[in-house]
Every structure is written in structure tokens, then in C-alpha cells.
């Protein structure tokens, strides 16, 4: 975008944003506490990690209506748990040439997978880039099980990812950016986060940092944290993966959207996960 047009483009996009984001309608995130099954207290608001542009990080849970928030309070009522249970079935299903299931090596997921949901994405020496749970599953399948990698969002990918991350429910998100080149990928993700794209010339920050708490049409804009993915979205009545959400949001800025698990989205996953440091893993979260 040349320098002459840039101010107009920014003004135009600001106008677009202003027209859909009501500048006068602001609602505080709901004053409520998330306690799963009356037992597991969740951290849904906390002081942000050092270097974070916002002073407090708030879970998307607080921006939803009473009824939506209530669905997540009870493991039985939470429709996302259907996906988690489906994941458990996949976990125990033998697949591939080696005659193994996830359980063959990893046994009880509640033990072996504890801490995975809160610490991924991690650095992968093998791949030379960050690896998330979806890609880790595929790596295990191809290298250890002799099974085919799952295609994006297909078959067991979402349920298994939800099942594995669910084992860290309640644990605070905490990434290790010291390993390998994680820091560089964090930088890359940060750049993506603040980069305006598309006909609407919006960046993630435009909505989630600058305008959280305001309404875009009837959607209460959250901070855009990712601690609840895969998430059960009422819109699709289904578990939705993080990269699906990234692609959807970017598509809605009327930009070409990157491929799932592309370098761009992996960097963004690292950065957005980092922004939610301290929040409890909520998988499966319930959102609109």
C-alpha cells in the first residue's frame, strides 16, 4: 500500500469498523465465576504476562450470554464433551500397520497428557518449527503407528485434540519460548497479529485489542484468547479447531486466508496462545 493511499485506507477501514462496531455500546465482560461441576475453579481473569499490551487477560467465556456461559459450567451439559468422549474412543482405537492405538504407548491420558494442553505449541527440533497438538498427533500416527496423518479438521483430528487438551482443563496456559526458535516464531506471530489485511483492512488487534468489550453487530468482542480450543461453537453446533477459527476470521476481513498449519498460522498460534498466559485451559469451551 503506497504512502499516499495509506492514510485514506486507514481512515476508510476505521470508518468500516466504526459502522459495525458501535462506539457507544460497550458492555463489561460478565461478572461471573467459572467453576466446572461445582468443583474445578477456573482462572478466567488474571494479570497479563510481562510484555503484554493489556493489563488483564480475560477469557472469552466472560463475553458470552448467561445461557452460553452456563453450558460450560457443567460437564454433562457441555456439548463439547461429546467431542471429548469421541476423542477417547479414537484414543483407544488401534489403527495403522503397527497395530497400536494412542493408549498402547500413552496408556491413561489423564496422566500421560496432563500438561500438554497448557504447554503446546512446543518447539519441534525435528520439524525445525513449532508443533501443535494436531500436528503432534499426526506425527505419532505416521511415525509410530504406521497410520495416515489426519487431514485438517477431518476424522479424529478435532475430537482427539479436544480429548488431549481436555486433560489439562484448569491448568494455566504457559508456553516455553526459550526452546529452539520459539521466540522468533512468537515475533512472527506478533507481526501477523498486528498486520492489517483484506478489503476491510483489519488486523486481529483492531477488534481484539483495540475494541474488545464493544459489539460488532450483536457479537460481544472478546480479547480473542485461544485457551478453550477446540471450542464447541453454537453457530456450527460442533467442535471448531483453532486454525479453522483463524481462517474464518481472516476470511471475514475479506483477505485471502492462509492454509491451516501454514507457517503464518503456526506463528499466530504461538503468539495468541502466549497472550492468554495464565488463563486456565478450558477445552472444550462453549462459545457462540
Amino acid at each position: 500500500m503506497n504512502r499516499f493511499l495509506a492514510p485514506f485506507a486507514i481512515a476508510a477501514s476505521a470508518a468500516v469498523v466504526a459502522s459495525v462496531v458501535s462506539m457507544t455500546v460497550f458492555a463489561s465482560p460478565a461478572d461471573d465465576a467459572l467453576v466446572i461441576d461445582g468443583e474445578l475453579e477456573m482462572t478466567t481473569r488474571t494479570t497479563s504476562i510481562e510484555g503484554h499490551p493489556l493489563s488483564e487477560v480475560i477469557s472469552g467465556w466472560h463475553y458470552r450470554t448467561d445461557d452460553t456461559r452456563t453450558l460450560q459450567q457443567d460437564s454433562f451439559d457441555n456439548p463439547g464433551m461429546l467431542g471429548v468422549e469421541e476423542g477417547e474412543v479414537y484414543w483407544n482405537t488401534v489403527e495403522g500397520t503397527e497395530g497400536k492405538s494412542c493408549a498402547t504407548c500413552h496408556d491413561d491420558a489423564s496422566v500421560s497428557m496432563a500438561g500438554v494442553g497448557s504447554s503446546y505449541p512446543k518447539w519441534s527440533e525435528k520439524l525445525g518449527k513449532p508443533i501443535n497438538v494436531e500436528l503432534q498427533i499426526n506425527q505419532c500416527r505416521t511415525e509410530n503407528m504406521g497410520a495416515e496423518a489426519y487431514k485438517f479438521d477431518k476424522e479424529g483430528q478435532k475430537p482427539l485434540t479436544a480429548y488431549i487438551k481436555h486433560q489439562s482443563q484448569g491448568e494455566p496456559v504457559a508456553l516455553n519460548l526459550e526452546e529452539g526458535e520459539m521466540q522468533q516464531w512468537w515475533e512472527r506471530g506478533k507481526e501477523t497479529y498486528y498486520q492489517r489485511t483484506g478489503q476491510l483492512n483489519l488486523s486481529c488487534a483492531t477488534c481484539h485489542e483495540d475494541n474488545n468489550g464493544k459489539y460488532i453487530r450483536a457479537d460481544h468482542i472478546s480479547q480473542g484468547n485461544v485457551n478453550g480450543f477446540p471450542t464447541y461453537r453454537l453457530k456450527q453446533s460442533n467442535l471448531i479447531s483453532l486454525h479453522n477459527r483463524f481462517r474464518g476470521c481472516i476470511r471475514d476481513t475479506r483477505a485471502e486466508y492462509p492454509a491451516a498449519f501454514s507457517d503464518e498460522l503456526m506463528g499466530l498460534e504461538v503468539y495468541t496462545t502466549w497472550r492468554g498466559t495464565g488463563l486456565s485451559v478450558e477445552t472444550p469451551a462453549v462459545r457462540q
Partner: protein
């Protein structure tokens, strides 16, 4: 195709108590209103009936229409006078029945 159902029933109750039973089952509940990429209507495919029986007698049932959300959630009540078995049945448009049974004991 319906997935595995989830049913929440207390394990034991005092005779005469009225309990709340919650059920959830995975199902697309294809309404018959949606169109595919080519513009063809995706045929209706829903769970159209739910029935709860206790020791063989129907306690509660529901006729469901396409306006019921995917992954149907049904909550209802039952008075339990004696120990026995609850049997839940979900029937879809093709006539396939998914069953789930759970025993309940009487306290004391």
C-alpha cells in the same frame, strides 16, 4: 447416525422422589432446509422421537421436529417408587433406534 448417548440419572433415590433426568446425544439433526454447494437440498435426517421407560412402562416421550438443535439435549422428570431400570430410546427418520439403559436403586 446417532453417536453414543449421555444420560445423567442419580444412582439411588428415596422411594417416591421425583428426579430430573438429563440426556444428550450426538446427532447432526439435518433439518432438510440446507443446500449443498451445488444447490441441492440436503435431505432431512433427524432424531424424531425420544422415549423414556421405567421397568417397561413409558414415563415420558418427546416428538422432535427439525427445529430441535443438533446434538439434542432433553431434560425431563420421573417419579421413582421402586428400584429398577430406565430405558431410553432415540429413533431417527430411518427408523434406527439407539438405546441406553441405567439402573436405579432405592435408598434405605
Amino acid at each position: 447416525m446417532a453417536g453414543k448417548p449421555r444420560v445423567k440419572i442419580p444412582k439411588s433415590v428415596t422411594a417416591g422422589d421425583v428426579i430430573t433426568i438429563k440426556t444428550l446425544i450426538k446427532h447432526k439433526m439435518e433439518s432438510g432446509q440446507r443446500k449443498d454447494k451445488e444447490g441441492n437440498t440436503i435431505p432431512r435426517d433427524i432424531i424424531n422421537k425420544f422415549e423414556a421407560s421405567f421397568n417397561g412402562s413409558v414415563v415420558f416421550s418427546a416428538d422432535l421436529d427439525p427445529a430441535v438443535s443438533a446434538n439434542p439435549y432433553i431434560e425431563f422428570s420421573a417419579r421413582v417408587e421402586e428400584a429398577g431400570t430406565f430405558m431410553m430410546k432415540w429413533t431417527d427418520d430411518a427408523g434406527t433406534v439407539t438405546e441406553f439403559s441405567k439402573d436405579i436403586a432405592i435408598k434405605g
